[in-house]
Amino acid sequence: MAAAYPAGFKYTKDHEWIDLAGDRGKVGITDYAQQQLGDVVYVELPEVGARLKQGQSFGTIESVKAVSELYSPVTGEVVEVNAPLKDKPETVNSNPHATWMVVIKLTNPSEAGGLLDATQYQDLIK
């Protein structure tokens, strides 16, 4: 039972999503990614203030089976971290598109234009 891919999000080939509002975006991983990982047990996130380049690792996500890097969809600064997620990492599995990990303030908002839309992303994972 796959979760729907919100049309308003942008997506990366590394299976993150970003939900943009102005020059800020909430970032999480896609339903496809959580299915591949299986039961998530740890999420390691950066500190507020961390500066990220597009495609740079901002943390790790670990399931019973495997460890995966989390990659930033855009260049910018981490302005918020979803700290409570540490204690309930399983919500990444149960509600992947509502479970944001960090909020990034974009240095260069035009970068988002290069990301995939929901249709393109779903073609990618077919």
Partner: protein
């Protein structure tokens, strides 16, 4: 996240069934195998085996038969455990060792008849093991090894309700089969060998059936177990279950660089039997000790020590993690590691390098989980 593969993957007789039921398939040891099932997942499947019952397709495992007048001598030569202790109808866990006492593979040895043995080996090692056995049994006399892997499908029913469910499909009195014994009969009207063994730390059975009947037996078991909460389980849960039960995995915890003594498997060595491959080295290690030994550990800090991660004592790289996971039942991060013997007492603390971060761990006795009888 995808894994590249070259040779076409081998398929068990249940491959189409797994795909039809929405299993997530992955390449494993050259086989296309279910890692977890739709609607399940590692944690749910693991818990089903601990609290109810789970069904596993382990047909990828290899079966090699050794028969002939001198079959016992042949098995005694290549297998570390003492096969002369086996009665017909009995099985034992053992090692297939190199002259250095290290593991070509680990295996189960079944005594089918006084001079007829069935050796069940790991999927990724079938050809290697068969070649090794065929060569190494030659000095034993009149015995032949036959790779019979394609003649068997193997289905494991594991968990507290395993006996109740399997009993509804067979006339064999399962309560009379003791742990590590087996019997021949029928399951769902299919010719079967029923063995009270498993790789989960739970009570249960492994059922050998002809490949063409595997699907029928699989469906019959799922149907029979409906009311008991039976679920199909993939390789993911198989790995977390065996690790919780402290069982070694060849290729992770034991291999051609680790001896049976280092792996703390002295109990699968027939110390009193005549010479066998690897015996001199093992006897020397038993007498004089080894530099390192396997331990069970649990993480004290947040994180999972996984296969290949380095272990540190103080600032010194002192050992290596061979298995690690977050266990669904005990809800802890546990694992196995090789450490210097001085660091192997339960309670000893050490560090695991988890992606550049020193993370505290503590030696604990194995198994991590032992079922209540």
């Amino acid at each position: 996240m995808e894994q590249a593969t070259e040779a076409p993957l081998k398929k068990t007789p249940l491959n189409a069934r797994h795909r039809a039921s929405g299993a997530r398939m992955v390449p494993f040891a050259g086989w296309d195998m279910p890692v977890e099932y739709a609607g399940g997942g590692v944690v749910a499947e693991h818990m089903a085996v601990r609290t109810a019952v789970g069904l596993f397709d382990v047909s990828h495992m290899g079966e090699i038969e050794i028969a002939g007048k001198d079959a016992l001598a042949a098995v005694q030569r290549i297998s570390s455990n003492d096969a002369s202790k086996l009665q017909v109808g009995q099985a034992q866990y053992s090692g297939l060792l190199t002259p250095d006492g290290t593991f070509v593979d680990d295996l189960l040895v079944y005594r089918l008849a006084p001079s007829h043995f069935l050796l069940v080996v790991n999927a990724g090692n079938i050809e290697k093991d068969y070649a090794w056995m065929a060569e190494q049994i030659k000095p034993a006399g009149d015995a032949v090894a036959v790779n019979a892997s394609s003649r068997y499908a193997l289905i494991a029913v594991q968990g507290p309700y395993a006996q109740t469910i399997l009993q509804t499909l067979t006339g064999v009195d399962l309560s009379s089969i003791k742990y590590y014994w087996f019997a021949h009969g029928e399951v769902a009207s299919v010719r079967a060998t029923i063995s009270r063994t498993g790789y989960t730390g739970e009570d249960g059975f492994e059922v050998f059936v002809p490949p063409q009947s595997a699907d029928r037996v699989w469906l019959a078991l799922l149907e029979a177990g409906k009311g008991s909460g039976i679920v199909p389980c993939g390789l993911g849960a198989r790995d977390t279950l065996r690790l919780e039960a402290g069982m070694r995995l060849h290729g992770n915890d034991i291999d051609e660089t680790t001896t049976a003594v280092e792996a703390d498997l002295n109990w699968i060595v027939g110390w009193k039997k005549d010479d066998f491959i690897g015996a001199p080295r093992l006897r020397e290690q038993k007498a004089n000790g080894t530099a390192r030994k396997i331990v069970g550990f649990e993480m004290l800090d947040r994180g999972i020590g996984r296969h290949g991660y380095d272990a540190y004592v103080g600032n010194d790289k002192a050992g290596i993690v061979t298995s690690g996971t977050q266990t669904p039942f005990l809800k802890k991060a546990i694992g196995m590691a090789y450490l210097p013997v001085a660091q192997t007492a339960p309670g000893t603390e050490f560090d695991v390098d988890i992606r550049g971060k020193r993370t505290r761990a503590r030696v604990v006795p194995m198994p991590f989980y032992k079922r209540q009888k």
